[in-house]
Point group: C2
Chain length 192, copies 2
């Protein structure tokens, strides 16, 4: 394959992936059609099959992402909660916006593979960072990570998916003000 063709192939692949992320995030797995993704990417539907094999393969590629959490062991212990909340807000509302979490949120409720992927992301990415934030059993780091997930995913659900107006209307500082101490408690409070 020539370099020109390879570059074009990579561009096509990237265009498909971007269109797929937007569709999956907006409509979920079931309602997203390969035909619609192809139309958004301005290519033929059969190309989606060629590049990703199947609708499930396309979804797996679109939903693969990295929380990119910072190393909490370097954050002052009394600022852990605010740091975590701020990080997620940046990740979800920064430029350019990454739709990957919304892809998973919109599909995890009705797609076992998506739910499993969400579980794995929090197990493999959030729990170790929580553990590294400091020794504080009980409860275990896994339990603390689960508690953090209830609040952060609940925020994402209400703010980006359900779009509950009082939650959408909170500005960034207000979100950190209200959720920061909650996450702080989940990360550091000793008893369980």
């Amino acid at each position: 394959m020539t370099n020109g063709k390879r570059e074009r192939s990579q561009r096509t692949r990237a265009a498909i992936l971007q269109a797929a992320r937007e569709r999956f995030a907006a409509d979920g797995f079931e309602r997203t059609t390969i035909r619609a993704v192809a139309a958004d990417a301005e290519i033929d539907p059969s190309m989606v099959m060629r590049y990703f094999g199947s609708k499930r393969g396309l979804f797996a590629a679109a939903a693969d992402f990295d929380l990119a959490l910072p190393d909490l062991s370097r954050v002052p212990s009394d600022e852990l909660g605010a740091a975590v909340v701020d990080h997620f807000l940046t990740r979800w509302e920064g430029e350019p916006t990454d739709d990957s979490l919304r892809v998973l949120l919109a599909s995890a409720a009705t797609n076992a593979a998506a739910a499993a992927q969400m579980q794995e992301i929090f197990r493999a990415q959030l729990a170790p960072v929580v553990a590294a934030a400091g020794p504080h059993d009980p409860p275990t780091a896994a339990t603390r990570a689960g508690l953090v997930a209830t609040q952060m995913l609940g925020l994402a659900l209400c703010r980006y998916v359900l779009r509950l107006s009082p939650v959408v209307d909170l500005d960034r500082d207000a979100v950190v003000h209200w959720l920061g101490p909650v996450i702080q408690r989940y990360l550091t409070e000793p008893s369980g």
Copy 2:
């Protein structure tokens, strides 16, 4: 119509509705088929159409529910958080279990009507109870209700839909212990 026929009709309708709630809760709106609901209810698919008009009509009937929140103005102010968390746990895990919230959660991400219904339930049922819990602006009762929604819906999402194991493994007392103070703060902390 004779009384016998009317009773039978009511039983059929109730059987359809129960089967629909289970299917919608487990699979969401898109993946749930009228055929599957009818098979579960052991009746003909066309009967579902006769009773509920359309798949959307069936969903609307299955997703209609009442949070049945208690009057918080009668709860001691320092027990508000624990009372709310305990109420939701009873509502979601009591006998018999009511799947209605899971019906909405599983569909709200990909179904605009479901998201709107969820918004309306929290606006019409949660916000007034929060307001009645006592005067405490700012922030407004709507904002406080929104914050409560982020934590309680996040719990429901992680515990019942995603089934994150650390969250599933928490017993009732642990949930109240961890979330109670969070809800307490969202309901009563003055500054905003």
